[in-house]
């Protein structure tokens, strides 16, 4: 009776049981709440931590956020092993089961449509980093004059600029290739290295929606690009539940080639109109 309801995901009914030892957010094993043809996966969580004020405070606490995010992910992972879940955003909380049911009722058509679109698909994450190159030994020589110093600085900064452009071209090419082998693609913001602790500069942080049956092929495709371009590091993560593809907009045609076609009339007209 007491406690709030934390909802991880919505899915269609599935036959296989979840792992019995599975613990969710706040240590409460996830329960299945079914309504019509859908199931919400729910934990009971204490009001002391998940009511609005404490939740707001907690979300700014990196340790709490980490623990909660991992617990959420574990449940989603377990679901992904037995079905195609529609994952909800972190910290979606309701007062009680009936609140969850009302939500399911309201969004039913949406959920069913999205579940159909995602059925049998998983998400793969691909990141490209530009490795920090070691300082060129010739450049570490002490400059003989102010002019030398400025020249060295110019060369260094133009070398940096070159490798950044090269990295961007490589990332764009890779993204186009991978998008062509995926049912959907989405670009996340490049990760801040202070937070990720990953060496190098993150120039591509993308997610691809791929049918399970084609995942092995996709992974091999990514693996083949590793080492293709010196100075670039490629990281693959997954398979994830399709977190990045719960919205309609994320389809491959909008991810790669469709630059917005702004009205281009006027560029070369009106020449002699005076």
């Amino acid at each position: 009776m007491t406690g709030l309801r934390y909802v991880y995901a919505v899915c269609r009914p599935f036959g296989a049981p979840l792992q019995t030892a599975l613990k969710g957010v706040a240590g409460d094993p996830p329960r299945l709440l079914s309504h019509h043809g859908l199931i919400a996966v729910v934990s009971h969580v204490p009001e002391g931590d998940f009511a609005e004020a404490p939740l707001r405070r907690h979300l700014e606490d990196l340790d709490w956020l980490t623990e909660t995010a991992r617990a959420h992910q574990q449940v989603i992972d377990a679901l992904t092993a037995v079905t195609t879940p529609l994952p909800l955003r972190l910290a979606t909380v309701f007062r009680d089961d009936s609140g969850v049911r009302v939500m399911m009722e309201e969004r039913e058509a949406d959920f069913l449509r999205t579940l159909d679109r995602l059925e049998g698909r998983v998400e793969w994450g691909v990141k490209v980093y530009l490795e920090r190159e070691p300082a060129a030994p010739a450049e570490t020589a002490k400059p003989a004059s102010g002019r030398d110093y400025l020249r060295q600085r110019r060369m260094q900064s133009s070398a940096r600029e070159d490798s950044r452009q090269r990295a961007e071209r490589f990332a764009a090419r890779l993204h186009a290739t991978l998008s062509a082998h995926a049912d959907g693609a989405r670009l996340h913001a490049p990760q801040n290295s202070a937070l990720s602790k990953a060496p190098g500069q993150n120039v591509l942080n993308a997610a691809y929606l791929v049918p399970r049956t084609q995942s092995e092929e996709f992974v091999e495709l990514v693996d083949r690009t590793k080492g293709e371009e010196p100075g670039m590091r490629i990281e693959l993560t997954g398979p994830w539940a399709a977190y990045s593809f719960v919205e309609e907009a994320a389809d491959p045609s909008s991810a790669g080639d469709s630059s917005p076609s702004a009205p281009s009339a006027g560029a070369d007209v009106g020449e002699g109109a005076s």
């Binding site: 979300l59 990196l62 955003r89 801040n192 937070l195 092995e216 993560t237 997954g238 977190y243 990045s244």
Partner: protein
Amino acid sequence: MTVVERREVALVDLLDRLLAGGVVITGDITLRIADVDLVRIDLNALISSVNEQVPSPWGESP
């Protein structure tokens, strides 16, 4: 899927998905975790003790 060695998922990769992905539903309690920019989480969660002026990434509650 044995092709990929399963390492522990990095927190940033997880947050990219849990805070910027997933279905957004206004629950009874849900704070509006708008499309959160990890830079701001970074600032907020990691160095909020240094600088209290950083705007909160969490939207105002309804």
